[in-house]
Structure formats: structure tokens, C-alpha cells
């Protein structure tokens, strides 16, 4: 067969393979979404616990504690929520195959996520109560800790995706890794908004 002719069998095989991989990516996204829905129930359960304790406990705040500071957490919130927009832009760049644009905004997302974690650590170290200080202390550190763990996971996933972006041909089979990491990040964000309202606003 001459090199200029296209083997019809091969081109049909390629079409089937492409359809097969597209379906695989869709399967993975479907599975990931289901996983996130399930994961959100853990946070939902913690939120329910928080609400029950807050509304029924006699001594809610530990001795000497009058409430939580709002300023720093509010700044952290703005940073985290904004980072959702930043990661969205990063995805858009990738979709248009602008790898350096993607990496820049992706790195910015990671920086904002890391800032959030840093801010959380600073807040924790400045607090006058610990996890064993009553139900308030316990639920506060449980919720913010679990959420922080998810933020850390998100940043690590972003790091891995960043590294992978340097592998040639990485996106030949689709952008599932980036899409999933981004979705996870939005999820982490939404959880934080609820958490912020429950713990910081509703005092």
C-alpha cells in the first residue's frame, strides 16, 4: 500500500478507538461526580452535628472565648472563592490549547490555595481554644480541619496536573485529570462557603 493512501481499516479502527476513549473519559467524569456527591454527605453530616450541638448545648463557647474573629477568615474566603474563577480561566486556556496560559493561571490557583492553608494555620495558632475545649472547640477544628485536608488534597492534585502538563501528548486522550481536579476545587469552595456561614457568620 503506498504511503499516500489511507488504509480504510485503520481509519475505522481509529474512529472506534476515539469513540471508545471519549466514552471512557465520560465514564470517569460520571464516576468522579458520583464520588463527590457521596463525599459531600460526610460534610453534610458534620454540618448537621454542628447545628445540633450549637442549638442544644448549654455551654457552647469555652470559658474565656467570646467568639471568632471575622477579618482574616473573610480574607481567606475571598481568596479561596476567587481561586475558583482563576482555575476556571486556567481550564479555558487549556481548552484553547494555550499551555503556558493554562500553567500560569493553574499556578496562581495553587498559590491562592496555599495562601488559604497558610491563613488557616495562622488562625489556628492564634486561637485560645483547642480541639478538646468543649463541643465548640471540637466541631470547629473538626470542620475546618477536614476542609483544610481537602484543600491540601486539591493543591496536591493541582501540583500533579501541573507536572503532567509538561509530558508531551498528555492531553491526547482528553483533559479528564484537569477537569476533575477543577471540579474538586469548586466542590471544596462550596463546602467552605457553607462552613463559613455556619461557623463565622452564624455566631
Amino acid at each position: 500500500m503506498s504511503s499516500t493512501e489511507v488504509d480504510p481499516v485503520v481509519s475505522q479502527q481509529t474512529a472506534v478507538e476515539v469513540a471508545h476513549e471519549h466514552e471512557e473519559t465520560d465514564n470517569r467524569m460520571f464516576g468522579f461526580i458520583i464520588f463527590l456527591l457521596s463525599e459531600s454527605v460526610i460534610f453534610l453530616s458534620f454540618f448537621v452535628g454542628y447545628i445540633v450541638y450549637k442549638t442544644t448545648t448549654l455551654d457552647w463557647l469555652p470559658a474565656g472565648v467570646t467568639g471568632l474573629e471575622l477579618r482574616e477568615p473573610a480574607i481567606n474566603t475571598v481568596v479561596l472563592v476567587s481561586s475558583s474563577f482563576v482555575i476556571y480561566f486556567a481550564e479555558r486556556y487549556l481548552h484553547r490549547e494555550n499551555l503556558w496560559g493554562f500553567r500560569a493561571f493553574w499556578l496562581l490557583t495553587m498559590a491562592m490555595g496555599s495562601y488559604f492553608l497558610y491563613g488557616q494555620a495562622v488562625e489556628w495558632s492564634s486561637l485560645e481554644f483547642g480541639i478538646t475545649d468543649g463541643l465548640f472547640g471540637g466541631t470547629f477544628y473538626l470542620l475546618t480541619g477536614f476542609h483544610g485536608l481537602h484543600v491540601l488534597t486539591g493543591v496536591i492534585l493541582q501540583l500533579i496536573m501541573l507536572g503532567r502538563s509538561f509530558i508531551p501528548g498528555n492531553y491526547d486522550n482528553g483533559e479528564f485529570g484537569v477537569a476533575a481536579t477543577s471540579l474538586f476545587w469548586h466542590f471544596v469552595d462550596v463546602i467552605w462557603i457553607v462552613l463559613f456561614l455556619l461557623i463565622y457568620i452564624w455566631q
Binding site: Q13, V16, E17, E23, D26, N27, R28, F30, G31, I34, F35, L37, S38, E39, S40, V41, I42, L44, S45, F46, G49, V52, Y53, T56, T57, L58, D59, I131, T132, G134, L135, G137, G138, T139, L142, F146
Partner: protein, 559 residues
Amino acid sequence: MTNVLVDETSNNLNQPGEPESWRRFFTFSTDHKVIGIQYIVTAFFFFLVGGIFAMVIRGELITPEADLVDRTVYNAMFTLHGTVMLFLWTFPVLSGLANYLVPLMIGARDMAFPRLNAVAFWMVPVFGIVLMGSFLAPGGPSQAGWWAYPPVSLQNPSGALINGQFLWLLAVALSGVSSIMGAVNIVTTIVRMRAPGMTFFRMPIFVWAVMSAQIIQLFGLPALTAGAVMLLFDLTLGTAFFDPIKGGDPILFQHFFWFYSHPAVYVIILPIFGIFSELFPVYARKPLFGYKVVAISSLVIVALSAVVWVHHMFASGTPGWMRMLFMFSTMLISVPTGIKVFAWVATIWGGKIRLTSAMLFALGGLVMFVFAGITGIMLASAPMDIHVNNTYFVVGHFHYVIFGATVMGVYAALYHWFPKMTGRMYNEGLGQLHFVLTFIGANLNFFPMHPLGLEGMPRRVASYDPEFAFWNVIASIGAFLLGMSTLPFILNMVGSWVQGEKAPDNPWRAIGIEWLVSSPPTHENFEVLPIVVSDPYGYGKSDPLVSNADALEVAHEQH
């Protein structure tokens, strides 16, 4: 010419026609059929472990005094009996059956995420070892019951950080992770990988049942995880969540616990319902009566299962209005369940019944399930439950479901699909002996628990007042018989697998995609994907199930 549609990367095959090596069962295989069998065999091992704990329990209870083992040992026995039977036998064996059957039944080559599948399985022996390892922990294994209610579960007399309760929580947490992985996999597979022509209302009922069960896992397990994490923090860090001395609320733990653990029983029974729905049509040669209604009733059960959990807390810290509300919701769940029972009776009625081992177990399981359903309605009635809650009446009820219906349903499934899975026929005589011993043993063991509970014998007791001796002796004899009854089964399974008569593709002349390929199926299941053209359970008609039955078998391998 190579066949691009078939993935031949991990066959273990050296020569054409060479059967796959038995060693694949000990590897990190990603073949759903291998994983399914790995789950089933591992689970059965732990069934025997849990059974040994039961023998110790019944040995203690054959006399009123606590004279066989120390009370702490007895308490560990009933704790681990429940924990092992649920997390290391029931859930894994049902995962195994689902894993093996679902892709075949929907005409797929494998699960959506084969490697995730393998990881989920291999976690089972890991957390099994963690749980068994708790015998070596300071203070021994958990002795707080499988519910792990605080404050008892927080007492930690040994004072050690890594104690039996800690390891128990770790094992259960790992079990939860494994289960969630499995649930994501199964739901994705069923929703997205059905063969062309297989609409939702052409899926076999077993697939409906498994899908429903896994949906429950997805929304229920995380609530247990949350409660378990908080309990773990209380245990190891000294937080206040459930510790009343520190202002915590032990009843909140009960809510977290039962919010999952009640739906969990539907995770267990729904696949069994699916098995019954598959087997009765085959062995009565009639379609499943009211297929669509039976399918939808599974979803109704999923919905209702989420709002009945407080019936485990009728005697606990719950206000009267809550007890009444949940009494009503609990009773309501009997309606979709009853629909299924009547459908099965209507399926076999007027059919041409063959009493194979599988059918015997399915029928026996059905009868025991109906009895359990009736005691279930009694328990749903709050004033009635206040008398029998935490007595042997409850133990009798749930053992009728979980042994009578579930274990017997699993045995039925294993006999029915044994030829498909192993390519061998089992010995029918041994199967029937197994049934007779099991049915008699189960009724002898668990029926006496009902009068005991009515008379006021509490559960989880190592010793009891002498007036309860009569029924306890009968129960213990039944238990020992049940223990013995596993012997013909093990003999049959092992002996037949090694040297049973070779099985044809479809020994039961059943209608289903899995019966259109060889026994056992080839590694990739199908040469080409089947194209489904008719509804399931077409007994009495001669419509073909798929339009390309002849093309399904992978040509170059003969078994």
C-alpha cells in the same frame, strides 16, 4: 488479522485453548470475574471465622451461667461476630456476586474502573487482618458491640492509645472506603455501559437491585464515616462529641450510626431480592410477575430506607412524636417489600417447578424472609418494640433475615451460577443435603429466640436467669447443626471445582446474556458486544434475547 476490539493485554494465556491459570486468583487481576470470585472466597473464609465466634457464643449460652469463657471474651465474641459477619462476609460476598454478574448481565466487557475494582477488593483482606489483629491489642478486641455505642466504646480500660476499639474503627473505616469505591464503580458501570438495546427496563432485576443497593451505600456510608471519625476523636484525642461528662451527646452518635446502618440492611437484602427475582423465573419456567413494578419497588425501598432509622431508638433518647413518625415510615416500607413477595409467589404459581439446590435455597430463603417480615412489622410498632427492643426477639428477627434470607439467598446464587463461574457442575445430592441441614439448623437456632425475647431475655448477655434455659439449649443445638451444615457445601464446592463434570454454556436453559457465552466466560466476556432486542424473562415465548447470539463467543479460545 488482529482484532482491535478485543483487549488481550492480560490473559495469562500461553497457548490458544489453554485455560486461564488458577494463580490469577492470587494476583492483582483487574478482570471483574476474577475479582468477583476473590471477593466470594475471601468472604466465605470470614463467614467461617464469624461462624466460629457464633459457636463460642452458643456454647456459652447452652447453660445459664457464664462458665465457658470470661465475660470479657464473650463480649468480644458477640462484637466481632456481628462485625465480621457484616463487614467481612455479607458486604464482600454481595460485592463479589455483583462484580461477577453485572458486566455479563448488561453485556459489558468489564466494570467501568477495573483497577479501582481490584484496589477495592484487596482492601478486604487488609482490614480483615486489622480486625483480627485487634485480638493482640492491649485490652483485647472491641467489646462494645458492633454498634460501638458511646460511652461504653470510649471506656478503654487498658488506657492504651492503639486499643481494640481503635483498630475496630480503623477496620470499619477501611471497609467504608472499599465500599464507596465499589459503589462508584458499579453505579457508573450500570448507568453507562449497558449493551446496545438494553434500556433500563430491559435490565435483569438483579442489576436493578444492585444499582439500588449501591445508591444507598453512596448516600448512607458517609454519615457513618462522620460518626466514626467523631467517635475516634473522642477515643484518641479526648474530644467531647459523644462523651456526656464533657457535655457531649451520646444519642447523636446513635443517629449518625443508624442513619447509615439501617439503610445498610437494605444494601444487604436488595441483592438477595434480585437473586430471588432471577432464580424463580428459571426454575418455574415463567416470566417474573410484574417486572416493571418489581424494578420500581427497589427504588421506592431506597427512598424509604433513608427515613426509618429511628426505629432502632424507640427505647432510647427520642421524644414521643419522633417515635410515632418513624413507626409510620417503617411500617410503610413493608408495602414495596410485600409487592416483591407477592410477585415471586405469582411467578412460581402455575409454573413448571424444578427443585434444584438453587431453587430449594431460594424457596427456603423466601419463606424465612416472610416470617422475618412479620416480626419486623411487630418491631415497627413502637409500643411493641418497647417491650422487645434489645431482647432476643430482635436477634431472632434479624437472623431470620440475615441468615434465613440472605445467607440462603447467597447459597442459592452460588449453586445457580457455579457452573458459569467455574465451568463445572456441582453435585446435586450434596446440595440438597446442604439445604436440609441448613434449613433445619437455621429454624432450630433462630426460632427459639422469639419466645426468649418475649419472655424478657436481653440480648448480648453472657449469662441469663435459669427460666430461659430450655429455648437456649434448642437454639444452641441448632447452631451446632448449622456449623456442621457448611461441610457438605465446602466439600461440594471444592470437589466439584476440581473435578466436577464440565458445564455447558447454559445448564439451566436460562434466559440471560451471561448464559449465551461459555462456562466460564472468556477473559473479555464477548467477541462483539451483544445487541439486546427483547425484554428479560421471556419464558413461554420464543423471542431471542439478543440479535447476535452466535457472534458473542470469542472464537479462538475453546474451554
